[in-house]
Symmetry: C2
Subunit: 562 residues, 2 copies
């Protein structure tokens, strides 16, 4: 198997007749999926998603792929193919379209409807091209065939990309529920046909490659949901992802059976379920839905709330309920809360806090840890092996996963008989060229994190984040003196301000004396320039804090000339 | 079941002949376990541990129980009983002994040896009283009986506390491994005898009350460990808790079988295994151990490293190896790493980072997610039911758990027949009185977090932490002006400094102009005092950042009079 090398340089020019693939995201992380295909000077992009920040990226709202690799070639993009409507596949589209608004977006009906609703909030009117299961159409040199796949959102697709360099199949996110709620199966027949034709490179979803066996059918959750509805004393509050149309459908079905009314809570839940209902992906019987504001008029045993916040997001309705600061809903011991969702790695603490908060007020909390109220949207190892055996790819490249997932998937491919020298484990920015039927790593391009924070994109740097980490752990101490600009003598200060450093104003006298002494000392030595003065202040304060408190806050010395 | 009420006031005076129990930690959290027993004006403390901070407590090293409740009664403490040697049960002892060094510490041989080694680092020489399984001795009015229990550290004990108010049994942390490595079983016979005598209140470990069934025997891990040893290509690196003597013993046994040498890495691992070996809890064949510095002289297939860092602690040897910045050990694809430990909630991200880092360099990583290399130290629901049925307590109080665990345990007690009105769910600081054989909540005392940060204890306040959270998410912008102390006129500045705010120096001109304008405006209105000037600067800068960047850094206005 090929390993990316830390010393990879820029790749050589792409040989005539070869295909280049560069993932700008999604390899080595779960999120910001984006693969750039290049053939004969033209580009095709598959997915353009965001990554959600973790604690090492404090204060950041979103993380985008770095578009630098394609920034001066935006006009060469034939299309952006979107495999499905999840944020980690479509979330960066608005940012790409800011740079060139008329890039054609290609995808299934629901996917593009969700993208369109999102872009409307960014005031962008995109060029959309809806494609159907089984459809085949060309975008420049890229001859694309779309295959239905089953996932945790309806209308997901895989895509086969034919160029003279060969046939590449990209699965998107998929699993193989054999009894899907909407009857739309992962199209194994077409995968098999492509396999017979000869797949030169398979790029396949690695998320659950470490998990043995098969994903349980979405349908199998209904028993647990019905059980919750049968045993709930009063209100039922369901939290799940705002895009999980099938999950919500199951809750609606249970509500109908139980004679309860349903209210959607949360902007994205209301928006997405509106889109899904309008397009016929969500069946909502007349009179089932009520306005959240009208809930007080219903008896609590007739109420179902469907809301977001399943990941413990601090500002969500569910978190507010858990903290008892929701303006309308006060949790009692007669409430039942169902977290009908996965627990995305990184959110364990916040979800645990929500569960403990709800439990503290006596609510019964049902979650995937104590009932079958969630199944994954991604193939487990069993299904991945099915796909590998069915498609018999000449070359294999695991995508959509952290290192541990990519490696586990590569191992599965190896077990099914893909030769190790034809398995390419790449990370973001690594250049994979398909040359004469052989996939190989030929270099690397920059593919760092681009941070969205507030209204700025890409302005927050690693330095800012490092500063935030220090400030967040230790706070800061700022010390100011004013010097006479002509004589260089200190005429006011030092004054000290500290925040988050755990040092009270009353504790500063000692260090002020030390600074005074240091200034006097350097004056006796013939004076110091502004730079030296700053250094002296930084060292004096830093030493004092370290000695007195064994802490290392950021020290910010300021010298003002008056 | 009794629920603590947010409006609980201070409790009334304790009636003659009644027993009072106040947990200063451990209820509503996993950590800083500490229960204060009071009878007839005398105090007995069971455990005195620390809690490890989470992301809401940035920069904090440790969290202690608040000793305020007992601070003016330290001389009334008869003894501190330590159930076992884990940090969440003994970690706060040095801080309590700082306030009164001669409080007798009571516990098993290993527990006290570990406490002694820890106190030596704090330069405290404690008064120790070793007690043996089955021993009974009195501390003032508290007649204590000690029972062997099985846990993830040797020599753990439960304690029965008899006073004229009745018999209280506190389990400490326990499980019921029926084939423990050291043959020391949880003493069900004595639990049964105490049950026949009549247990007025059972306080029992709730950690795994949500987990159905029984904990697998520690012994059952050996298969997985042997498997790792059989299949490892070259080095084996084992990470586990520094206190898990039995786990380490199993690794040593496997190393002997495989003809490998073992090196201990990490200060606490070396210290604890030294203590355990000296007291005979760890059997180390002659010649098995080697100095980590001598590793280079051994062939890699003869090496086992046993280190800490199983929770992904950033400064640990294991994290450094994962990041390839360990000075000695460079991970290769021939290395096998075994995380033979639990994953403590809150550490998911950091452990995942370590696994991905190691995997990136090609190492094979074995962990509890893919092999049976860990079993919990705490009883699952099955064992908890055994204990409840065996002891038949009149009253029950779940301890050692977050809200979700306490409630789940309370439900188990209810199912075994403890009347709901005799089940007390308390949180930290809630006062539980055992009066005439009935346990009841009678009030609450302060039991907040006391933070250790650097060398200071209790100086970091919630305000400091709130500041750190803001600084860590958004950074700060500080703006300084110098005013003439006699005229009040601005004579220098404004000058702006920002860190972590993602605003570059070149961006400040606009806001400097705005501040100038604001100052000029107020001068035209007749001038402003220092306070008004500060307010004006804060508002001007805050408004500018919010409008230009949609961000909310901390704004620190400074006015210096010269």
């Amino acid at each position: 198997m090929s390993h990316p090398h830390p010393e990879l340089g820029l790749p050589p020019a792409l040989p005539q007749g070869a295909l280049r693939i560069v993932a700008l995201g999604g390899l080595g992380e779960i999120g910001r999926n984006m693969a750039v295909f290049e053939y004969d000077g033209r580009l095709l992009i598959v997915d353009c998603g965001v990554l959600f920040p973790e604690e090492e990226q404090p204060g950041v709202d979103l993380i985008l792929p770095d578009f630098d690799y394609i920034r001066d070639r935006l006009d060469l993009i034939e299309a952006v193919v979107l495999t499905h409507g999840h944020e980690d596949h479509i979330g960066a589209v608005p940012y790409l379209l800011r740079e060139r608004p008329d890039i054609p977006l290609v995808g299934s009906r629901l996917t593009l409807a969700l993208v369109e609703a999102k872009l409307a909030e960014h005031r962008i009117k995109p060029r959309l091209q809806v494609v159907a299961d089984g459809e085949r159409c060309s975008f420049g040199p890229f001859d694309c065939e779309f295959l239905a796949v089953n996932h945790s959102i309806p209308d997901a697709m895989a895509v086969g990309v034919r160029t003279p360099a060969g046939l590449v199949v990209h699965t998107g996110d998929f699993k193989m529920d054999q009894l899907p709620l909407d009857g739309r199966l992962t199209d194994l027949g077409t995968f098999a046909r492509l396999g017979s034709e000869g797949i030169d490179l398979l790029m396949s979803d690695s998320t659950n490659a470490e998990v043995p066996g098969f994903v349980t059918s979405e349908r199998d959750i209904s028993g647990a949901i019905d059980n919750v509805f049968r045993t709930a004393e009063e209100r039922i509050i369901v939290a799940c992802f705002a895009s999980h149309v099938h999950r919500v459908q199951q809750v609606l079905n249970a509500a109908v059976k139980a004679g309860r009314k349903v209210a959607f809570v949360g902007r994205s839940m209301v928006r997405n379920m509106g889109v899904a209902r309008e397009l016929g992906y969500l069946e909502v019987p007349e009179g089932l839905l009520v306005d959240p504001k009208a809930l007080d008029e219903l008896p609590p045993e007739k109420i179902v709330l469907v809301c977001t916040g399943s990941q413990g997001e601090p500002m969500s309705a569910l978190s507010r309920m858990a903290n008892r600061d929701h303006h309308q809903i006060r949790i009692t011991e007669r409430d039942t809360v169902m977290l009908a969702s996965s627990l995305i790695p990184g959110n364990e603490n916040s979800v645990n806090r929500v569960i403990n908060g709800l439990t503290r007020w006596g609510a019964r909390v049902v979650h995937k840890g104590n009932a079958l109220v969630h199944v994954s949207g991604h193939s487990s190892a069993g299904e991945l092996l099915f796909l590998l055996n069915l498609t018999k790819p000449s070359n294999f490249m695991p995508v959509h996963g952290e290192w541990r997932h990519l490696r586990a998937h590569a191992k599965l491919a190896s077990l099914t008989g893909v030769p190790d020298e034809n398995i390419v484990i790449a990370e973001d920015g690594v250049v994979v060229d398909l040359i004469d039927g052989h996939a190989q790593i030929t270099g690397a391009v920059p593919a760092g994190y681009v941070y969205v924070d507030g209204s700025s994109v890409g302005e927050i740097t690693e330095t800012s984040l490092k500063d935030r980490r220090i400030l967040g752990e230790e706070g800061f101490v700022s010390v100011v003196v004013v010097v006479d600009s002509s004589t260089g003598k200190v005429i006011a200060g030092p004054e000290i301000h500290a925040r988050g450093a755990g040092i009270g104003d009353q504790d500063f006298q000692e260090v002020l004396n030390r600074i005074d002494a240091a200034i006097a000392e350097s004056a006796a030595e013939g004076g110091a320039d502004v730079h030296q003065l700053r250094q002296k202040m930084r060292r004096t304060v830093g030493k004092w804090v370290s000695e007195s408190y064994r802490r290392r806050p950021m020290i910010v010395p300021v010298v003002i000339e008056a």
